[in-house]
């Protein structure tokens, strides 16, 4: 006996197996990201007043990424539609676009990660805080041995609170300079990595997990676009279903980003 309904819909459910499967999988994905979002909500509302940073991420890059993903979602749908009307050439074109858009997304994402990684907050011996992007560390820079200097492009503030709301008029008008700090002046030096505070922690975790989904989805789409597309010649119906199912996953990943963008970049 063969497994039935791999291509045709089962009459009483109106679905073929893989389509039900992907929706069930997406349901579990909803709960996965739901768990993470509820963690986000809870951590955010339990912060003391002024404890949640604003304007730490570049809205321009976030917007570009939002539009890239929206476009890729559209090309995914069109790739499936092209398969459905049996226009293989157009399918190849649309999914090539999808893959390129996804890779651009990941490129921009890694640039943003890098930007946070070289962004340092340094507590100085005089009680002030130097905050900015790393330009260079001198060759002999070593915090433990207290040798060398570090050069940042940024500013010096009196109080940590001033760094929290970068959208405030004061922060907007602040002048950024290059400054060189000797190791002997440094009490503590930490970059804006996940351990910096709750915001960077949830930012890296949420977007990291999302980026993993993008990566996985891209791999699947690339497989179906390249070696997997041989199936089109033998069983176009089944191939179209595969494109539809992988497309549903891709749209879900876009859906997650639609919520990630406002909660991380805009508020």
């Amino acid at each position: 006996m063969e497994i039935p309904y791999t291509v045709q819909n089962r009459p009483d459910t109106g679905l073929y197996n893989a389509k039900l499967g992907i929706w069930l999988f997406l349901a579990s994905e909803v709960m996965l990201f739901g768990g993470l979002f509820s963690a986000y909500i809870l951590l955010r509302v339990s912060q003391p007043p002024g404890g949640w940073p604003h304007g730490w991420l570049d809205v321009r890059l976030g917007t570009v990424n939002t539009l890239l993903l929206a476009l890729s979602a559209i090309t995914t749908l069109l790739a499936w539609a092209a398969c459905k009307v049996r226009e293989f050439g157009k399918f190849k074109f649309f999914h090539a676009c999808t893959i390129l858009l996804a890779l651009t997304f990941l490129g921009i994402k890694s640039y943003e990660y890098h930007d946070k990684w070289i962004h340092y907050e340094i507590q100085l011996a005089n009680g002030k805080i130097a905050d900015g992007h790393l330009i260079e560390k001198s060759a002999d820079f070593d915090l433990a041995k207290i040798t060398g200097t570090v050069t940042l492009h940024g500013r010096e503030v009196e109080n940590h609170v001033e760094l929290m709301d970068l959208r405030s008029p004061a922060a907007q008008s602040a002048k950024l300079d290059e400054m060189t700090i000797p190791a002997s002046d440094i009490k503590k030096m930490e970059n804006y990595g996940p351990r910096h505070n709750t915001f960077t922690a949830i930012y890296f975790t949420l977007t990291g997990l999302h980026a993993l989904h993008i990566f996985g989805g891209t791999l699947v789409i690339f497989y179906l676009w390249g070696p997997g597309s041989k199936l089109y010649k033998t069983d176009p119906e089944r191939f179209t279903n595969r494109i539809e199912v992988s497309g549903l996953f891709w749209h879900f990943v876009d859906l997650v980003w639609i919520f990630l963008f406002p909660v991380l970049y805009l508020t």
Binding site: M1, Y5, M31, L32, G35, L43, P194, T234
Partner: protein, 621 residues
């Protein structure tokens, strides 16, 4: 039937992705060892793989428990016989062959984790579900055979990661199977990170399995297999799969967050101002330890039903088969299992009454907890009532199924005081809890699983397991199981706390004359009794292990339907070939049509031609 089987080349799905669709080229190559046993996509092989692995892990988890019981009864004394081996393998934590408190903690955490996530769930859900569900619904395989294989491999990897964590410096996770933060992050061992990676793999495995089960049950039911003709075991697996699908992901999310806490230095579950060893921890803080507990128990409580529902399904099948009459209240059973599944999502915080929870929310969770006992009791009642008036056949599976009833009854009823905040505040974290949930899972679920092994063994091998040794296994297990767990209720009520590596000696020694809160000597003496009962319980499993392997080749040969059962799993050749059924079965009968008036035999298979019975009645209610 046997002849038509030949036309299906075995393992036609085995080649990697693209090759899947060009079978029919007539490549009849014999599958080699790897294709047949390691990279098999056949649900029956995968079921047996799961079952074998799960039984091994359960034995290992049992062994950890024996070592812990020794340490509780004889604190700091070298473990006889195994002590030197432990010292050789684990080194410092087992210095002198005795179990250090740290080692005790990691054994405790790993005993729980292994028994729940590597033992009972894979056996009850994955093994029996994989083997039996497609057969019962008349399907050729699971819907997604390759995902099924991937699911097993993820489980296998997860198990390996868990085992490896024993041998890393610092040892395995020590924060209990619940891994409460901040303890889980501040204990100086990487075991917790291994635990989390292992858990993410196990969760992934369960999720893939759950998708597969639901899709299979919805899409691959044979013609005529309507929802109300499904054997109740399939219903139980269906609801279990939904619980896994929707309750596990939040724990996966929590696992990822705690992994970040442990590896990347974040503070998701670490509060501001956390001090470790008198020093302010170098953490940003701002996290919430309670968040971990919520996310954990959002899975943790439904997980209880993941453990119990498939077991109940097995018991129902065995009881219906051996009472030779329709199960009592099939429809009530179906609606009850749906109710249990639904309610299980909104009772989780009854594990957290002691966290300083407010009265309103505590009242809510007390109410839902009391509500969920209603469908559970309906299920148990249906099982009991099914016995009434039946011509009961006593055999090993039936003995275990009958043993399940009072044992689960005790486990369930002792849970009621724990569901009410007022009593729970006193009983929380005592041995009363240990006794309660072990009665549910050990003599409850595991007895049902034994029943399942004895019951379906003839289907898997074509031979029966030895009846005499089966009964020895049952009666010894039944007696020692109770001697192990019954005293724990007493200990718990007297105030003996769980998770104490010395079994309460220090607590007891600190007592002042006439203090009411000190542990009396009788509570401590019970530890010795429990130890010996546990050792005897271990010895009682030896007949089972020998019986299991011996019967594969030497058991009594039986036909395809030795129990004279109605469900479709017994209407296939034994063992079922790849593809299971030679022809698509046409289902015309309900699942439990035993002793139907006018029928030729005392059982009417579900796919029997409709004209054999004059009325073709639905199961009686």
């Amino acid at each position: 039937m046997e002849t038509t089987v030949q036309q299906f080349p075995p393992f036609r799905e085995t080649p990697a992705h693209p090759g899947h669709d060009d079978h029919g080229h007539g490549e009849h190559h014999e599958p080699n060892f790897w294709q047949k046993y390691i990279f098999s996509t056949d649900h029956k092989v995968i079921g047996i793989q799961y079952g074998f692995m799960a039984l091994c892990f359960m034995l290992f988890g049992f062994f950890l428990m024996l070592l812990m019981r020794w340490q509780i009864a004889h604190p700091q004394m070298p473990v006889p016989f195994f002590g030197p081996i432990l010292e050789k393998i684990l080194g410092q934590p087992a210095a002198g062959g005795a179990i250090s408190p740290e080692l005790y903690n990691s054994f405790g955490a790993m005993h729980g984790t292994i028994m729940v996530f590597l033992g009972v769930v894979p056996l009850a859900f994955a093994a029996f579900g994989n083997y039996v569900v497609p057969l019962m619904i008349g399907a050729p395989d699971m819907t997604f055979p390759r995902i099924n294989m991937a699911s097993f491999h993820a489980f296998f990897l997860g198990g390996i990661v868990m085992l490896v964590s024993f041998f890393i410096p610092g040892g395995a996770a020590q924060a209990g199977w619940t891994s409460y933060s901040p303890l889980a992050t501040t204990i100086p061992t990487n075991g917790q990170a291994f635990w989390l990676v292992g858990m993410v793999l196990l969760i992934t495995s369960s999720l893939l399995g759950a998708v597969n089960f639901i899709a299979t049950i919805i899409q691959l039911r044979a013609p005529g297999m309507t929802w109300m003709r499904l054997p109740w075991f399939v219903w139980a697996q269906f609801v279990t799969a939904f619980i896994l699908l929707l309750a596990f992901p939040p724990l996966e999310a929590a696992g990822v967050l705690q992994l970040m806490d442990n590896v990347a230095g974040t503070s998701f579950f670490l509060p501001t101002g956390l001090a470790v060893g008198g020093q302010l921890a170098d953490r940003s803080g701002g996290g919430s330890p309670l968040l971990w507990q919520h996310l954990f128990w959002f899975l943790g409580h439904p997980e209880v039903y993941v453990l119990i529902l498939p077991a109940m399904g097995i018991v129902i099948e065995v009881i219906a088969n051996n009472t030779r009459k329709p199960i009592w209240g099939y429809k009530s059973l179906v609606y009850s299992v749906l109710g249990v599944g639904f309610l299980s999502f909104i009772v989780w915080a009854h594990h957290m009454y002691l966290t300083g929870m407010g009265q309103k929310i505590a009242t809510f969770f007390q109410a839902t907890t009391m509500m969920i006992s209603v469908p559970s009791v309906i299920i148990l009642t249906c099982m009991f009532l099914s016995l009434w008036g039946g011509a009961i056949r006593i055999n090993t599976p039936m003995l275990f199924a009958l043993g399940f009833l009072p044992m689960f009854g005790i486990g369930g009823l002792t849970g009621l005081p724990l569901g009410l905040a007022a009593c729970d505040l006193y009983l929380h974290d005592t041995y009363y809890i240990i006794a309660h949930f072990h009665y549910v899972v050990a003599p409850g679920t595991i007895f049902a699983l034994f029943a399942g092994v004895y019951f379906w063994f003839p289907k898997m091998t074509g031979r029966k397991m030895n009846e005499f040794w089966g009964r020895v296994h049952f009666w010894c297990s039944f007696a020692f199981m109770n001697i192990v767990f019954m005293p724990m209720f007493v200990q718990g009520i007297k105030g003996m706390l769980r998770r104490m590596s010395d079994g309460g000696i220090n607590y007891s020694a600190a007592r002042v004359p006439n203090a009411i809160d000190a542990l009396p000597g009788t509570a401590m003496q019970m530890n010795g009794v429990i130890l010996w009962a546990a050792i005897c319980l271990g010895i009682a499993q030896i007949p089972f292990i020998i019986n299991l392997f011996w019967s594969i080749s030497h058991g009594e040969k039986v036909g395809t339907n030795p129990w004279r059962a109605t469900t479709l799993d017994w209407q296939t050749p034994t063992p079922p070939p790849h593809g299971n059924f030679a022809h698509e079965p046409q289902v015309t009968h309900g699942p439990y049509e035993y002793s139907m008036p006018g029928a030729a035999e005392d059982f009417t298979p579900q796919d029997a031609p409709a004209d054999k019975t004059a009325t073709a009645p639905q199961p009686a209610h």
